[in-house]
């Protein structure tokens, strides 16, 4: 094994783990934007809600049942929130997309403040569930099992989402809407229901990502904006509405965030911005986005 990989294996694996977590988070954001041109700025706070929920239900050292309950609860809450957001932004559909984005911003402010009122200002730490809290040998290095599990979960989800989008009729509708929205509504598909479902699913994934990410990030104020920014960069680089783009973008950003930080420490932010700028200059629609470009 090349010496370089040996030294940095841990970082690379970390990058994969974070990358897959980001994918789970960002895919919902990407689809919602690709389908409805709605930038859901409350996406980060959904993640945070999931993280807090896992602490609330399982405490700092959750058991397996409480971990799973937290996952289900976060999913349900996320789906409900997504449906609600879809309704709220739907009311503004006739106005500009900016107004819709601002609405989600206002909602996220309210939610974030409510969360810090309930849970306080400290960062709450959460352990991985038992069985996943140890370390395993990977290529001669000791590595946290939980992060390996995260990579597995991410792969599984990517496969599920891919199948869902390629094989189901809902997925076909989503793909069609991302490609040509007017055509789909002209054909008479009830896009409001589809939008609500996509919004709900995307938000469900975001809050579940919060539960999955709690053992790594914990739960505390400011986390929502941190992950929101990362998710946005992923979506912009990967291309709006593209699941493949979200995956590739998430893995790239995951690597930059971890490998970049261990190699370059503080300069990693600039690599991030540099990558963003580069993609935007060379390919403004993102790596896998539709060539229609940035819709206003």
């Amino acid at each position: 094994m090349p010496a370089w990989l040996d030294t940095h294996l841990v970082s690379v694996l970390n990058g994969l783990a974070i990358g897959f977590l980001l994918f789970i988070l960002a895919v919902g954001l990407s689809l919602v934007f690709g389908m409805m041109d709605v930038l859901n700025l409350a996406h980060g706070v959904l993640f945070l809600t999931g993280a807090y929920l896992s602490w609330l239900i399982g405490g700092p050292s959750p058991s397996w049942p409480s971990f799973l309950v937290a996952l289900v609860a976060a999913g349900a809450l996320g789906a409900a929130a997504g449906a609600g957001l879809s309704l709220a932004t739907g009311r503004l559909a006739r106005r500009s997309h900016l107004d819709q984005a601002l609405l989600t911003l206002g909602i996220s402010l309210i939610a974030a403040d409510a969360l810090s009122a309930i849970f306080g200002d400290d960062v709450l730490a959460v352990d991985p569930p038992p069985g996943l809290d140890g370390s395993a040998m990977v290529l001669g290095h000791l590595y946290p099992v939980y992060r390996l599990a995260l990579i597995a979960a991410g792969l599984a989800l990517a496969a599920i989402v891919h199948l869902g989008v390629e094989r189901t009729s809902l997925g076909a509708l989503v793909r069609a809407t991302v490609a040509d929205r007017e055509m789909v509504s002209a054909v008479g598909a009830d896009d409001r229901k589809v939008k609500a479902i996509v919004f709900a699913l995307g938000s469900l994934l975001a809050s579940c990502a919060g539960v999955l990410g709690a053992p790594i990030y914990g739960a505390g104020p400011g986390l929502d904006t941190t992950v929101l920014i990362l998710a946005l960069v992923v979506v912009v680089i990967g291309g709006l509405g593209s699941i493949r783009g979200a995956l590739v973008g998430a893995l790239v950003i995951g690597q930059i965030e971890t490998l970049g930080r261990s190699l370059l420490s503080d300069l990693a932010s600039f690599v991030l911005f540099g990558a963003l700028a580069l993609v935007l200059i060379l390919r403004p629609q993102g790596l896998f986005g539709a060539p229609g470009g940035a819709r206003p």
């Binding site: 930038l39 503004l92 500009s96 997309h97 601002l102 206002g106 309210i110 974030a112 009122a117 946005l232």
Partner: protein, 320 residues
């Protein structure tokens, strides 16, 4: 999405109101407590920031969620200059303006290629990067502790130490900055920017170099935001990363949206509202200033499109 500036009628009334407001602002240190005066000073700083953002949002139609970056750049630059070079007030402000303009130029080159919500995302990411920079560049910015111990600004031999002196310094800076923004808004450049906001495609078809104008608006807006930042440094004598960050950017956009983009005076009123709610009323609201603002924001977006300015204009039209 905006209100056309009243050009003909009501000019005299406008002038009178302006004079009254300036007089009140100037008189503040004479009859308010130091804390209240300081709040009014902060309102002016924030109002200038909001006005600079309005030039971008309300006039050119570019919704920026990262304006804190240029504000902070100006604040840090002015503070650094005061600490390391000269405590001269005007020089620090000039440095602040330049810093805001330069950072805006760099960011704008990339950001201005995008439109609408896409542009919003970009400015958000850029603002975040600048905040990271402020937190990690210990040698220059002092890292997360911030840039403290900024000496009092010097103006013509006087050190502006007490609240009143600082207040009047900021008032002067605010008046100049606000006048500059107002000037541009009423100029052919302002008309061009409004044209771009209304119908960018048509402007291209008419032969305008739209990218250049957008970039120019971005840079000018950044320069004025930098000026506001310089005034912050002179007033607070301390600059911290949150001044640069997303929180500031969001509050600025809130001020513009609540006040009414495109009207310039609306964002100033919105700024006053935001500062009062987050600072002055902060404790009596149990520290839930952000919650109240969020609610206000949601209400405005839902029920009051165009903010207070448009509501006022509609009422004025209905009355006449």
């Amino acid at each position: 999405m905006s209100v056309a500036l009243p050009r003909l009628s009501g000019r005299a009334a406008e002038r009178a109101a302006l004079v009254a407001v300036l007089a009140l602002l100037a008189a503040a240190p004479l009859f308010l407590t130091p804390y209240a005066t300081s709040t009014v000073t902060r309102i002016m700083v924030f109002a200038l920031l909001a006005a600079s953002l309005d030039l971008l949002v309300g006039f050119t139609g570019l919704p920026s969620l990262g304006h804190g970056a240029y504000f902070g750049a100006g604040a840090y630059a002015a503070g650094w200059c005061a600490v390391h070079v000269t405590a001269s007030g005007p020089v620090a402000l000039a440095v602040a303006i330049a810093a805001g303009a330069v950072v805006a130029a760099i960011a704008g080159c990339v950001a201005v290629r995008a439109r609408g919500v896409f542009f919003l995302m970009l400015t958000l990411a850029i603002g975040e990067v600048v905040q990271q920079l402020a937190e990690s560049w210990h040698d220059v910015t002092g890292g997360s502790n911030g840039l403290y111990g900024i000496p009092a600004a010097r103006l013509g031999g006087f050190s502006l130490i007490d609240v009143g002196a600082r207040h009047w310094f900021v008032l002067a800076g605010f008046a100049v900055g606000a006048a500059a923004v107002r000037c541009i808004a009423a100029s052919p450049l302002g008309d061009t920017l409004r044209g771009i906001r209304d119908n960018e495609a048509r402007m291209r078809a008419l032969g305008y170099r739209v990218y250049h104008y957008k970039l120019a608006a971005f840079i000018i807006s950044g320069a004025v935001a930098g000026l506001a930042g310089g005034l912050l440094a002179a007033h607070q004598r301390l600059v911290t990363p949150p001044d640069v960050g997303l929180g500031t950017s969001i509050l600025a956009l809130l001020a513009v949206t609540i006040g009414g983009e495109g009207s310039l005076w609306g964002p100033c009123v919105g700024a006053a509202l935001v500062v009062v709610i987050t600072d002055a009323l902060g404790s009596s609201l149990g520290g839930h200033g952000p919650l109240v603002l969020g609610l206000l924001f949601v209400v405005v977006v839902f029920a009051l499109p165009g903010g207070l300015a448009r509501a006022v204009a509609a009422r004025r039209r209905a009355a006449s």
